[in-house]
């Protein structure tokens, strides 16, 4: 069940860039039909292409991360934005965070119910407030002041794509694969700046008000130019308990471990099997994607011509 993929790259010069994304880790992939698998890979490739274009054109890692996560939020295949799972009360409550590795500026939102793109709201928290995390109605009131697109709950509840068949269905607060589908992105731009972002609808049938790791800087998301950028996906409580995203930074910073060794320590030794996965990108352009679940939807691209998507990383 343990899987790892590492792509080493030369130190990034001024024209080098790299990006990775994920669309969640879990067991659903094993149950998907071929058509649904292809639709998922098409969705990943489409989002990856958006990030690739931004970075290849000299755009910032932060812009690439926001744009990729927005695309995945708008895609009903994933448990973020439009495709968010529902709480035990049958509502969608969305979480997201974003972090700029060059300044350690960060922003996050939790439990928002009417914001089309939580990742963009998280970025506004970062740039337009003195705070890092806004939750619930306060976050929604702030969204209204920012003229961001707001939606009704029906946007999240209707028109959902079943993750197994990709058919359109009305959502039900059920499902046994409770941690599949969170989305995230890590990017390195041509200036050498790292960024990370994560967005989710949380876990199926979560208690109303539950906040997972995705909006927690240090748990689901972290970026620091001295080391790496990380976005996690899995059982959020375990990611919070182990401070997963920041732990990878700390292993590199304090134990001089490689990004791969740090990620492997977390995924294979620290987290129990079937907990989740992560994508990470070091400041030299090395991309690591690992999971200890049956599958993880992910993809990677870089300035050396790499462009690929996966529903499972072979070890």
């Amino acid at each position: 069940m343990m899987s790892a993929l590492v792509a080493s790259a030369q130190p990034i010069a001024s024209s080098k860039w790299a990006i990775a994304l994920h669309g969640g880790a879990g067991g659903s992939l094993a149950k998907m039909g071929e058509e649904a698998k292809q639709l998922h890979r098409d969705s990943l490739a489409c989002a990856l292409e958006i990030g690739k274009k931004i970075l290849a054109n000299g755009g910032s890692a932060l812009d690439a991360v926001e744009a990729v996560v927005r695309a995945l939020e708008d895609d009903a295949h994933f448990n973020a934005g439009r495709g968010s799972v529902l709480t035990e009360s049958g509502n969608a409550e969305l979480d997201a965070s974003i972090m700029d590795g060059s300044t350690k500026s960060c922003g996050a939102v939790a439990n928002v119910t009417n914001v089309k793109n939580p990742i963009t709201l998280a970025r506004r928290v970062m740039t337009e407030t003195k705070h890092v995390l806004l939750a619930g109605k306060g976050a929604e009131d702030f969204a209204a002041t920012q003229n961001l697109p707001l939606v009704e709950q029906a946007y999240f509840i209707s028109g959902h794509r079943d993750p197994l068949t990709s058919s359109i269905a009305i959502r039900e607060p059920t499902g046994d694969d409770s941690h599949y589908g969170t989305v995230g992105c890590v990017a390195l731009d041509q200036k050498g700046n790292l960024a990370a972002g994560t967005s989710t609808g949380g876990t199926t049938k979560k208690m109303p008000g539950r906040v997972g790791d995705s909006p927690i800087i240090g748990a689901g998301t972290y970026a620091s130019n001295d080391t790496c950028a990380v976005s996690g996906t899995g059982i959020g409580e375990e990611y919070i308990r182990h401070a997963v995203a920041y732990d990878i930074v700390a292993q590199m910073r304090y134990a001089n471990r490689s990004l791969e060794a740090a990620a492997t320590e977390i995924i294979e030794n620290r987290l129990k099997p079937d907990t989740g996965g992560l994508i990470a990108l070091s400041n030299d352009g090395t991309i690591v994607m690992q999971h200890n679940t049956e599958g993880m939807a992910c993809g990677a691209a870089d300035s050396q011509g790499r462009f690929e998507t996966f529903l499972k990383i072979e070890k």
Copy 2:
């Protein structure tokens, strides 16, 4: 402005215990009259005595932390529970977290407006749900199911003790010392288990919905028996950005630094002056209390007879 205090102790045998608490870091202490200072120290001593008794009688670190933080929440001198500061809308929104270093179990609540003791609600999240963090109405609905004491907003807004004079006054959402008064506790029990907890009303005139570091495991609170327990107080956004509590654990775990060296790295090198302070307790009973603000209300006691409180730690 940098201050440090370290009390080394021998490795804890079965009858050894240690505890430290804080009542916030900031500049207010310099402006306090002598009477107010004495009242603050009396409050700290009273709470410390509660924890001391639990640990001396063989109680758990977790019970000591909860009881000490509850006492400080009920004391209107501090910005937690009854004495919480108000948002820019004039409301109290409370945050708290608690962590068991023996199991890494943890629980937290954010933005609760009607719960008398958020630290106890945080512990119930830890023990009675599968989640780590509940925010807003969801947290309050859960509190109602737990038969915990609920209060009206008036409980937080009226009967407040002015931090400078200790006189009773109706609260106003004003004040220039925006990060004074968060409370926290770290404890080591006779079984060698560590625990940490933190509770706050947040920052004065915060935006509604703002969540600081106190309910964020890894930022304001962390405990792991292999290293130490930490509770922070200060500008929460900086504590989240730098994953302060977990960073101390990581420095000890990955760089083999002492608790004192790890805390000093954070307080003197990582955080800007006047950001805050922290209390930390290693698994050998060493207590470290440091701050880079003008003052920090804190105290420490252990099984070797130590029992003292401070409003400022001399370096």
